[in-house]
């Protein structure tokens, strides 16, 4: 490969990375905009809108709902995802591939399909919208995040560890506590963080399952559409970016630091697994 090609590839890469980051940086700067106008360049700087956003009762209740939904969804995803992963990684049975396919379906299909399907189901079954309908919607696509992480970890762990534990007289709980938990804990933490980030950010499925309730992204969306309170929305946008990026950065770190995937390739694979999850 010639020197010229290498340099042009490096320049192209730099430009694409800039393309990815410039809009994020620009919208983050608007949170510190002193003016109520959304024009560029920003002429006056202020932290005023942070306190306004903090005292906005609608934003607060939306945040509260989002945190509650995120926490419950994560808990459900952890339990169901781990159970399915344990069964698929350890046993051979008819239709095993179908299980993986079934779990990944809500992520692979566009969000409007999942949303529309759940909405018709709730109407058909006479279930009225509540926080729980939002949770059900989020759980359908969060289970697979935990499942992927745990399956990948179990495949790299030898089943004889469990047999050894039983031979030494441990019961199920002890085997779980002293053998499985140390192996799985980081995969569970990473999966849980990603599930939370996914739920906290979700818009499309939520619009079909929330009725008149507002999660934080729905609150932001409704205000953007009506062009209302944009300075407050800028602050919330800044906040949402920070709060979704932190769990992901943590999850990456947790996966990397376990030493299970010390090899570069394995690390990348796990990174891509995490990245498979559309932020819909």
């Amino acid at each position: 490969m010639t020197r010229g090609t290498r340099i042009s590839l490096a320049i192209w890469s730099g430009l694409v990375i800039a393309f990815l980051w410039v809009p994020i940086i620009v919208i983050a700067l608007y949170a510190f905009n002193g003016s109520t106008l959304q024009s560029w360049p920003i002429t006056s700087w202020s932290l005023h809108w942070f306190s306004v956003a903090w005292h906005n009762p609608d934003a607060r209740s939306a945040l509260e709902l989002s945190l509650k939904v995120g926490a419950i969804t994560t808990a459900i995803a952890l339990v169901l995802g781990t159970m399915a992963a344990a069964a698929v990684a350890r046993y051979r049975f008819f239709g095993r591939d179908a299980v993986s396919f079934l779990l990944v379906l809500p992520l692979a299909l566009p969000g409007i399909i999942t949303g529309m399907a759940l909405n018709s189901f709730f109407v058909f079954a006479g279930i009225s919208v509540s926080m729980w309908t939002i949770v059900i919607g989020h759980a359908t696509f969060c289970v697979v995040v935990v499942y992927n992480n745990v399956v990948a970890r179990l495949r790299r762990t030898s089943a004889s560890l469990i047999e050894a534990s039983q031979d030494l007289g441990a019961d199920g709980w002890q085997t779980f506590r002293f053998v499985l938990w140390p192996v799985l804990s980081t995969a569970l933490v990473a999966g849980g963080l990603l599930a939370f980030a996914l739920s906290f950010d979700e818009v499309i499925v939520t619009t079909f399952t929330a009725g008149l309730q507002e999660t934080l992204p729905l609150f932001i969306l409704n205000n953007i559409r009506q062009g209302q309170e944009l300075p407050v929305i800028n602050v919330l946008a800044f906040f949402v970016i920070v709060i979704t990026v932190i769990p992901v950065a943590l999850a990456q770190r947790v996966i990397r630091d376990t030493g299970v995937s010390r090899r570069g390739a394995a690390q990348v694979t796990e990174g891509v697994e995490a990245a498979e999850i559309p932020a819909v």
Partner: protein
Amino acid sequence: MQAGPPGRRARLRLSGLLWRRPWLKALALLTPPLAAFLIIYIGSLAVVFISSFWSVNAFTSEIEHTWSLANYRLIFDTSQPYLHIALRTLGIAAAVTVTDAVLAFPLAFFMARLAGRRTRAILFVMVLLPLWSSYLVRIYAWQTMLAHNGAINWWLNKLGLPDQNLAYTNAAMWLVFSYVWLPFMVLPVYAALERIPDSYLEASADLGARGARTFRSVILPLALPGLVAGSIFTFALTLGDYITPVLVGGPNSQMIGNVVYDNFATNVPLAAAFTLIPILTMGVYLVIARRLGAFEAL
């Protein structure tokens, strides 16, 4: 033989039972997640499919459970806007996929084959974080930047170029879709390129191939599964979105997602029939992708 309190003995007996009958354990582990998915998710998809054959009474707005193909006839009626909207959606999804492949491939190649370990790790995080940072906020950022007095026009003026009124057009939608789904293309292509053994490239050079020939005959075929895997995301995500058209699209930017969203509260049967277009499209797409080996590249 078994020591300890009765609770522990019972637990040991249970462990033993599950050990002797592994299918019992597999069943116990699988039933809750599978039952939840089959009842709620597959059940929901079945309800959508069935309700697409129903209709809504124009006077009472009640759903009538009479079977007909009326909704499908409406979708394929050329005097109605629906077929046009479906084709526009497919066209934009294809354009976005091609754009992302072109933008992503050189970056993925640089990350996988040229960058040092440290640079590669930094680039990886710089692609991964935008993927996870709020998609709604990233669309909003573009809405702000594309506005008449926004950052894009300001920068164009700085370069001595005239204002471009990109906001609220199909071109803006194409740009913003390409932007939000770009990381989904970079990562699988990167993974595919990273897996190519150096010896393949050396062998190709030993056999007398120049750079362009090695690229065409060795690198591209091996990267193809990664490109197809990435295109599944960019295509499916564009197909099912309605937020981008609402925030940066114009009056002629309606997509499949908008029709579904606008009708789901008032005309469930029509919305349900419309969701079958992306379901079928993705079904066909996934079958082709599987043939091309994209599933191994995921």
